[in-house]
Assembly symmetry: C2
DNA sequence: CAATTGTCTATTGGATCCAATTATGCCACG
DNA sequence: CGTGGCATAATTGGATCCAATAGACAATTG
């Protein structure tokens, strides 16, 4: 009997993957990033295999990949434990975002198109009416990535997206703590406006503040919970 | 009969690893990063298993981790091929370094100690007399990391080191093309001096130029080779 | 009654085995 | 002589099996 209930995740992930390993890896990653798997949770290969209906082999390969992405640690005879989120880690990820995102945005702004601006605007509008924190994080991520997408540096963009997603893990706690969050929609609007005017300097300035505010919220959350 | 000769690598890597998987992963990564395994080389699981004297299982897990680090791609029925280095990739990694390293250096400078400065100075001196490109890259990396080490953000530092190492792959070609390289030793000295005076602004400025110069060299190399 | 030790079980790391898929090479035929 | 199709071999993805190790729990002894 599996102790983990991933059936919902497995069902919604659908079958759009070449190999079982890829499927397992994608499903587990979203499970961790969306907070459905909490930090510290030990993942037993046997249980996962039962949940996914495959043998332990693809599970092991998927876990290795997630380990390489620093989403979990291998502890001998204890299982792969989901890396815990801590105040220092949050500060770390914040520092990384602060280093990457302004650089990406600056490169991207000159090449953004009318269509990009419209998509970004639509996403802001969608966030206005959103209540679900999980969906909110998703929309927020897509908004940011839309503005970064024209930077023309695929690896840089992929790296940025990766840490943006990691940040979502922390953000989720913040959202849960504050009830509904507005995620600084004003700043989203200002940033988009600056981008439309091709004012990279101002857009970057807003973005820095935006990221900083999110980090402060998380820090406050950690400070208040202990 | 294995078609790949990794015996030298395997011997020098020594046995300081907990599991076979970790050993294989570490050995293959240095083989790729040091250029001993060229881009485009297909890695057959069977051959690797024979070379390492283990079964295909730890090989597969190690390959998965390397795939997650973007060092190779899985191609069905062809093997895991070492990701090729290209001009656009080099530009990508350069952009990432340019985003990360100034941020790390700025954070680190206030906390560097006398001992750090001495180690950095020793490394510069060692580079002066070094002829071997491989060893040169190693020293260069350690010099940079010494200056970054006090930033107090482990994840940020690890990420930076990772891309610094990736850059070495490209640098190696540059060194090979130019014969002996000086790797801008003057800039190394200036950067260290600025750090000792806790002049973060100036140190960052030199670093930006330093990274940019390396990128230009690589770009020129790619432009000249086609 | 507590501490220590020994055994037993849970869990992972590694090996071998099987199936599916695709690249390759050969042969026939135009 | 070139081309296309078929058969075979090579290679990976996945399953099952075995071994080693650490942790838990109980029994025994001081």
């Amino acid at each position: 009997m599996p102790k983990l209930d991933l059936s919902a995740l497995i069902a919604e992930a659908g079958g759009r993957h070449r190999t079982a390993t890829e499927f397992v890896e994608a499903t587990l990653r979203t499970a961790i990033l969306t907070g459905r798997l909490r930090g510290g949770t030990p993942l037993r290969q046997e249980d996962l295999a039962a949940s996914f209906g495959v043998s332990r082999m693809p599970i092991r390969e998927a876990l290795r990949q997630l380990e390489a992405q620093a989403l979990l640690d291998f502890v001998p005879h204890k299982g792969a434990v989901v890396t815990d989120i801590s105040a220092t880690d949050a500060a770390d990820i914040y520092a990384i975002r602060l280093a990457l995102e302004p650089a990406v945005l600056e490169r991207s702004i000159p090449h953004l198109t009318r269509a990009d601006f419209e998509r970004a605007g639509d996403l802001i509008a969608e966030m206005d009416g959103e209540e679900d924190p999980g969906r909110m994080g998703e929309l927020n991520r897509r908004f940011h990535m839309t503005l970064y997408g024209a930077a023309g540096r695929p690896k840089l963009i992929a790296l940025t997206e990766n840490y943006l997603a990691s940040f979502d893990r922390y953000l989720r706690f913040q959202l849960a703590a504050k009830g509904r969050s507005h995620l600084s929609q004003d700043e989203h609007r200002d940033m988009l406006a600056a981008a439309e005017h091709r004012d990279a300097r101002r857009a970057v300035e807003i973005l820095r503040h935006h990221i900083g505010a999110a980090a402060d919220n998380i820090a406050a959350f950690f400070a208040g919970q202990e």
